[in-house]
């Protein structure tokens, strides 16, 4: 099980959320308090927006807690919108290319969950991609593929939440057609540099957890409360979509 966090608000140093909290991702990467998988040591990733439209992406397969480059980056980069992700691999190999967040133009995406029976579905899902997105496929994970399919649906004119919903529905339909019993689980965040959408979904009744909390003049969304103060964190309900813009938070439902 992966863990992630997303922040939108006044610019803060990344370490304020990524490293310092008592249950920060860097510490979680060493010892998770309440998760099934003890260690998240299969890769770490950061994505942050500065003044340019494309985010900076840093991904590494060394453990986060011993990566001095990562710690220095977090201590010296300040951003109004960033993602951090620790990976517990479910498939696809341990390589930077399979680490989150994934990026394309101004978009970035990260995911916790999995497509049940992905090895049966991978080929037919990849076939759906148009040439220019097929070419962008670098790794072998279900997460990168979901991102490319969402990009495709957005290129066809859908909004970010509608595109995501469509990809989830189509993926789930393919899973049913192939009589795959395992669930489709999807806690994810998508950003375009100005706003974040966070999703909590599962085809069964166990969607991966997501919580949100105000942080200064902004919000954090995270797989688990990052500090000891659990009561300050609001869980997302199953099928909930959280939409964050500067000074504006709204919640809707997947149809």
């Amino acid at each position: 099980m992966c863990r992630f966090l997303a922040y939108l608000g006044d610019p803060v140093y990344l370490d304020e959320l990524v490293c310092e909290p008592r249950h920060s991702l860097v510490r979680q990467s060493l010892r998770a308090e309440e998760a099934k998988t003890v260690t998240n040591g299969d890769g770490f990733g950061l994505g942050w927006y500065g003044d340019r439209p494309q985010p900076g992406i840093y991904r590494e397969v060394m453990p986060a807690w011993s990566d001095e480059n990562l710690l220095a980056l977090c201590a010296n980069v300040r951003s109004p919108l960033f993602f951090a992700h620790v990976r517990a691999a479910t498939g696809g190999g341990i390589t930077r290319l399979n680490c989150h967040p994934f990026q394309h133009g101004p978009w970035m995406f990260m995911h916790n969950g999995q497509i049940g029976g992905f090895s049966q579905l991978r080929r037919i899902m990849e076939m759906r991609l148009p040439d220019h997105l097929y070419e962008r496929r670098r790794g072998a994970t279900d997460s990168e593929l979901l991102f490319l399919l969402i990009l495709q649906a957005m290129e066809a004119g859908r909004s970010a939440p509608d595109a995501t919903q469509q990809v989830l529905q189509e993926t789930h339909a393919m899973m049913r057609a192939l009589q795959i019993q395992q669930p489709l689980r999807f806690a994810a965040a998508l950003a375009d540099g100005q706003q974040i959408w966070a999703f909590r979904f599962s085809s069964d009744d166990r969607p991966p957890t997501l919580y949100r909390r105000a942080h200064g003049r902004g919000w954090v969304v995270a797989s688990e409360p990052l500090d000891g103060d659990d009561s300050a964190w609001t869980p997302l309900a199953p099928n909930e979509v959280l939409h964050l813009r500067p000074e504006q938070l709204s919640v809707s439902q997947l149809a």
Copy 2:
């Protein structure tokens, strides 16, 4: 341009061929004497057979000359059949997953060359793979894909050289169908643990070089002469296939 070497014969320590010669791959990885690309620093790989049917594979994106693990491995592993490869990337990203040799069961494969216009061909070539080989696709290179297609042709009953020839012909036919002007270049080696086939082919008149030379009770095949004694090395002619078995060397032609 990549470089490689393959050895078959009495067991020798890997460093005898991989590290020590005046123009060894480890030194070539630092400064090539006669190649177009100055540096081969995009990854190194070794594959060697011991007593087990599957070869050991070591791949790393650190430069070969500074990788103490690689040097120690070469100094302490002895094998009757091994491959070594330095990569100069033409595409697909710098990751261990894209380094040669590639391995599947008892087979291993390495390649120098490229499929012209690969980005146009990649999808239709990948579509030809059966599910179980599609699933084995980890990286994004043309080389790994050629290997999987050769495996498919062998699974259909063809011999190693026939399977390779078929894949080259089909690939070239697809390139012509798409009016791709760039050539298909292919210097490669394939092994099953008992024997090696080496190929030198190009759809134009500039196939990547390959040379062979006796080494003790065995033979080496290499992209370039490994020592200063060029006259001792026999070049493979274009379209030539070299077949090495214990104490037996034969040469044939691609049809």
Copy 3:
């Protein structure tokens, strides 16, 4: 807390002990059953003897469980005498240079434990080294320094166990002189290619654990039982020195 294992006996593939057992080091590196530190993800090392006098050494800071090079090496190298070590750093930085085993000529060494108050002692201990061993100092750990001091005592004519005992006594004497309260803890193994000495010592009453068990025509020494069958493992007593030679096991006491 680090973990290690050492094997001497008929040649076996490394994976038989390093990877496959239910509580193997590769699995322990992911989730330790009974240790204080949950994860041993600060580096992994192997050392093995083949036909040459110097051992091969492989050290990596990627987690062991995701390092395909390590797994392939263990599956394809067979040795009559090898060490494996997972590191939980107590100091000195996460780098291959600080990973065990350490090697010098035919000797190799690995360690679990620490010198209490090492930062106060480091300089005066390093000063004791003769020039040629001072030059060999690459990292910053107490473990590498203990090894170099043991080498020095052996060069002065002492046997391996006497040299080790002398270094422990002198180190402990320096600690007392500086009124350091923390203990000197030392579970370690030393080999010369033909034989292994394993040590279990502490200046307090909590020496790091060491166990031994017969394995085919040989023996394993390990920080923890590697399989579920704890009753088959004999713990080393505090201050015990185990000496392994082909078909010969003996136990003595530190004076």
Copy 4:
């Protein structure tokens, strides 16, 4: 031979100087135009100041040209004062710990050159360090050691250029005392977050080159001209010290 660049001026994105110029360090790391060593592939480092007093440091032993983290960092970090360095190792091992720049508090330092006969001098030079700086020693290079000695001289009250000059004089005196024939060569840059000092010195008549050029409202100092326009670059003379502050450039001489 290493290469480096230092920038002070209005904030610019790092890639503007580190990656884009025709002879940028990232390109030089692949193929140097005029240097003795063909490839600088033994490690890359960046150091940049943001709003905090301590600089961010990024160091990696992968080749710069294939490190996507480095390229993303350069594309997304903007700074008024930064260093970049490619290493061609002369000793000390290939590890992040031996890569430049070195950092201590608000200070950072990078170096091209070497102390002749360093293996004879290392111990007596390290002995001169006070405990708290001895403890900071992580790697094994002469460069890191020179930096620690300069810090020591500054802690004793000397200015940055005086401290540097004192360390060079003392080092050269020790070399003469040991009758070392090889030269002491030293092209280096030192920064405190507000200002840069660059030095060009050698005990023989071949100090490593350094050039400077105005860049927007600022200056670059580099081992080689970074673009094709060599006439725009002013070489530092031997024994010259360049001092850069916001909108202020001055030149002095080592005594």
